[in-house]
C-alpha cells in the first residue's frame, strides 16, 4: 500500500515539478539525488524546508538526505546571487592562469570562491573541470562558457553585470 504523500510546504507551483520527479521513480529511495537536482533546478538551492519535504516524500531520515546533499559539491545549501561566475580550476586552466582570475575577482569584489557579494549580485564558484580545456582558462558565466579569459577583462565584464 502506497502511503499518502506529504503536501508541499506551500503552494509554489515549482513543487509540482519536484513531485513529478519523485513520482516517476515510484518515490523510491534511490530517487534522492534526482529529487535534489530537481529542487536545485527549481529553487536554485536546497533549504531546510525542501530537504525535509524530500525526506518525508521518500520516507528517508532527514539526516540521510542532509548527508547526501552535503556530500556532493554541486548541491548548495545557500542561495546564490543573481549571477554566478564559475571559474574552472581544471589542470589546463590552472596551467594557463585560473589562479590569476580568482585573485582578480577576490581583489575587485572581495569575495572568495563559494561566496556571494553582499548585494547578492554575484556568486563566485570554482569547478573541477568544465571540459573546455581547449579554451583555457575558462569560466562559466550564468551557464555560458567563456574561454581564453584574462583577469582584467573578466573583472570588467563582471563589473558590468546588473
Amino acid at each position: 500500500m502506497q502511503q499518502s504523500k506529504p503536501t508541499p510546504p506551500n503552494d509554489d507551483k515549482r513543487w509540482k515539478i519536484i513531485n513529478a520527479t519523485m513520482r516517476r521513480s515510484g518515490y523510491a529511495e534511490h530517487a534522492l539525488i534526482e529529487a535534489l537536482h530537481s529542487v536545485q533546478d527549481a529553487f536554485g538551492y536546497l533549504d531546510e524546508t525542501s530537504l525535509r519535504f524530500v525526506a518525508e516524500s521518500l520516507d528517508l531520515p532527514a539526516s540521510k538526505v542532509f548527508g547526501v546533499a552535503t556530500f556532493y559539491h554541486l548541491f548548495t545549501l545557500k542561495p546564490k546571487g543573481r549571477h554566478t561566475c564559475v571559474v574552472c580550476t581544471g589542470t589546463a586552466c590552472y596551467i594557463k592562469g585560473a589562479g590569476a582570475l580568482i585573485e582578480g575577482i577576490e581583489q575587485r569584489f572581495a569575495v572568495n570562491p563559494g561566496e556571494t557579494t553582499p548585494d547578492d549580485r554575484l556568486s563566485v564558484l570554482t569547478a573541477r573541470c568544465v571540459g573546455a580545456c581547449g579554451l583555457a582558462p575558462a569560466v562559466v558565466l550564468d551557464r555560458d562558457v567563456i574561454g581564453k579569459q584574462d583577469a582584467d577583462a573578466l573583472v570588467e565584464q563582471l563589473a558590468r553585470l546588473e
Partner: protein, 542 residues
C-alpha cells in the same frame, strides 16, 4: 527485423538526402558553442536559403577545439577527406562560405587538413564525430549505425559476441586497462536473473574531455555498445551515469535514448527480437570519487558516493547486489566497430598489449589544443610535437601530465616512449582516461604536485583514514616545500607518506593520489631539493 532490412533502411535514409550535394557541417560541441558556433550555424542557415543542394548540419567535435568555431564543407558524394575545413569562423563569414560551395574555397578561413594534426590520426571511436548530426537517429543509421547491434542479436549468440570482444584485445578505456572481454565474461558467467550494464560517463579527471566529446558527437554509438554488452552478459537494464557539469552531453544522450526507443532499438523486444534492454540516465552531482565503480553504484542507488572494499567485484555483486558490468564511454564506443569488423581487425591495430586506438585530450601549453585519436603505441613525441604542433611562444617543453590526479608527469627524456598501458605504467604514470596536459618551462613541478594533491584532498570522500588524513598531510608538506619552508626530513616524511597512502587506501582515489608526487620526485627531484631550507640532514640525500 533482418540484417537486410537494416541495410535497406540505411540506403533509404541516404536516398532521402540524395538531392544534397554539399553539407555545411558546423561543430556544435561544447567548446565550439562557447566560441559562438550557434550564431555561425544560424547565419549559415540564413545564407544557404535558396541553395537547395546545400544542407547546414550541426555535427559533433572535429578535434581542433582551439581553432573553433569550425565549419567543414563536404561533398556528400565523396569521402569526407575531400572536405574543406574552416577555422575561427564568425557569423559574418557565412555568405562567403555559402558562395564558395562548389567553387574555390575561402582562403582566409581555411584550415589545412593535410597537416599532421589531422593526417596522423586514425579514427575508430571518433569516426562519426564531426560527420553525423548527434541528434539524428536516421543520420546514425545512414552511416551504418545499429547494424552491429542487429548483427549481434540476429546472427550471433551471446558467447560469440564475447568471443569477438575477447579476440579484439580491447582494454578498459577508463584508465585501469582491465581486459574488457574478461570483465564481460565474468558477468556473463554469473547465474541468470537481474543484471545491469552501467556506462561510466563521470569523466572527472581535470583536463580530460574525451568522453564529453564522444557523448556530444555520437551518443547513439555509446548506447549501441551498451545494448550489445547487455546482450552478451544477459542484462536487461542499463544506466548512463553522466556528470551534471556536462549539460550538452546530458541533453544529447537523453535525446538519443528517446529516439532509439521510438525506433525500436531500445526498450522492449529490440528490433523485433526476444531481447529487451532499457537504458536510463543518472546525473552525477559533482564528486570526483564517483568515477570509482563502487562509489558510482552507490550514487546510482541514491547514496553518498563512497566506495566499498572489493571483492566482491561489481561483476559479482554490484548495483543493488546484482551482477553489474561497468565500462566507460570510450570502451562502449569501440564495441560496434568491433562487432561489425571483427575482433581480429581490431587486434591488428595498436601494440602487443594494447590494441586499437586511444582518444586523447590535448591541452595546456601546446599549439593544437583539442581531441585526437591515435593508434596505441604512438610515441609521446609524435603526439606532442608532430600532432600537437609543439609548444607555443618559443618556450621549451618541460613535462607532460597523463592520467589526471592518478597519473604522473613525464620529462623530455621519456618522449620517445610509446603510449600504451604497460609502457606508461613502467614510467610511473598511467594511461588514465586520456587527458594529456603539456607544460612548458614556466611550470613548477612542485606546484603541479601540490595542485593535484589539493584536488585529491578535497575530493577524498572521507571514508578511509589513509586517504582522508594522508592527502591532507601530504598537501600540507607540499605546500611547505613550495613555499620553501620545509626541511630534508619533511621531504623524507612526504615520501614515506606516499607509500603508506598508496598501500593502505580503500579505493583508487587514495591508492593513486601519491602518483603525481612520486613521478615528479622521480624525474624532477632537484626542483624539490632546491626549495628545501638548508639543514644538517641535507647531506644524507646525496
Amino acid at each position: 527485423m533482418h540484417l537486410d532490412d537494416m541495410t535497406e533502411r540505411a540506403e533509404q535514409y541516404r536516398a532521402e538526402k540524395a538531392h544534397i550535394a554539399h553539407e555545411l557541417r558546423v561543430c556544435m560541441a561544447a567548446s565550439c558553442q562557447s566560441s559562438g558556433a550557434k550564431e555561425v550555424h544560424d547565419a549559415l542557415v540564413e545564407a544557404a536559403r535558396g541553395h537547395g543542394d546545400c544542407e547546414v548540419k550541426g555535427v559533433g567535435c572535429m578535434g581542433l577545439c582551439s581553432a573553433g568555431p569550425l565549419v567543414s564543407v563536404a561533398p556528400t558524394a565523396a569521402a569526407s577527406d575531400d572536405a574543406v575545413l574552416y577555422r575561427d569562423v564568425g557569423p559574418g563569414d557565412s555568405g562567403d562560405i555559402v558562395a564558395s560551395v562548389g567553387a574555390a574555397p575561402v582562403d582566409r578561413l581555411r584550415c589545412p587538413t593535410d597537416q599532421p594534426f589531422f593526417a596522423r590520426q586514425q579514427k575508430i571511436v571518433l569516426a562519426n564525430a564531426g560527420v553525423v548530426d548527434p541528434d539524428s537517429f536516421k543520420g546514425y543509421v545512414a552511416v551504418g549505425g545499429y547494424f552491429a547491434l542487429l548483427q549481434a542479436l540476429t546472427e550471433m549468440t551471446p558467447a560469440e559476441v564475447l568471443q569477438e570482444v575477447n579476440t579484439s584485445g580491447l582494454r578498459g578505456r577508463g584508465g585501469g586497462g582491465y581486459p574488457t572481454g574478461l570483465k564481460w565474461s565474468t558477468v556473463a558467467k554469473m547465474p541468470g536473473g537481474q543484471k545491469y550494464v552501467i556506462c561510466n560517463a563521470d569523466e572527472g579527471d581535470p583536463g580530460a574531455f574525451m568522453d564529453r566529446a564522444i557523448l556530444e558527437s555520437d551518443p547513439h554509438r555509446v548506447i549501441e555498445g551498451m545494448a550489445i554488452a547487455a546482450y552478451a552478459v544477459g542484462a536487461n537494464k542499463g544506466y548512463v551515469y553522466v556528470r551534471a557539469e556536462y549539460p550538452l552531453a546530458v541533453e544529447r544522450i537523453q535525446k538519443a535514448i528517446r529516439k532509439a526507443k521510438r525506433a525500436g532499438f531500445m526498450g522492449h523486444h529490440i528490433a523485433d527480437t526476444e531481447f529487451s534492454f532499457d537504458v536510463e540516465l543518472r546525473l552525477g552531482a559533482g564528486a570526483f570519487v564517483c568515477g570509482e565503480e563502487t562509489a558510482l553504484m552507490a550514487s546510482i542507488e541514491g547514496l553518498r558516493g563512497q566506495p566499498r572494499p572489493r571483492p566482491p567485484y561489481p561483476a559479482q555483486s554490484g548495483l543493488w547486489g546484482h551482477p553489474t558490468l561497468i565500462n566507460n564511454v570510450e570502451t562502449f564506443a569501440n564495441i560496434a566497430p568491433i562487432i561489425r569488423n571483427g575482433g581480429e581487425w581490431f587486434a591488428g591495430i595498436g601494440t602487443e598489449g594494447s590494441k586499437g586506438t586511444k582518444v586523447f585530450a590535448l591541452a595546456g601549453a601546446i599549439h593544437n589544443t583539442g581531441l585526437i585519436e591515435v593508434p596505441m603505441g604512438t610515441t609521446l613525441r609524435d603526439i606532442i610535437e608532430v600532432i600537437g604542433g609543439g609548444i607555443p611562444g618559443g618556450k621549451s617543453f618541460k613535462a607532460v601530465q597523463t592520467g589526471g590526479p592518478s597519473g604522473g608527469c613525464l620529462p623530455a627524456s621519456q618522449l620517445d616512449k610509446p603510449v600504451d598501458y604497460d609502457s606508461l605504467r613502467e614510467l610511473g604514470t598511467i594511461m588514465g582516461s586520456g587527458g594529456m596536459i603539456v607544460m612548458d618551462e614556466s611550470s613548477s613541478m612542485v606546484d603541479v604536485a601540490r595542485y593535484f594533491m589539493e584536488f585529491c584532498m578535497s575530493e577524498s570522500c572521507g571514508k578511509c583514514v589513509p586517504c582522508r588524513t594522508g592527502t591532507q598531510q601530504m598537501h600540507d608538506l607540499l605546500d611547505k616545500i613550495a613555499k620553501a619552508q620545509a626541511t630534508d626530513a619533511e621531504l623524507a616524511l612526504l615520501e614515506q607518506l606516499c607509500e603508506v597512502v598508496q598501500a593502505t587506501s580503500l579505493c583508487g582515489l587514495g591508492q593513486t593520489a601519491p602518483n603525481p608526487v612520486l613521478s615528479t620526485l622521480r624525474y624532477f627531484r632537484e626542483e624539490y631539493e632546491t626549495r628545501l631550507t638548508a639543514g644538517p640532514a641535507r647531506a644524507t640525500w646525496r
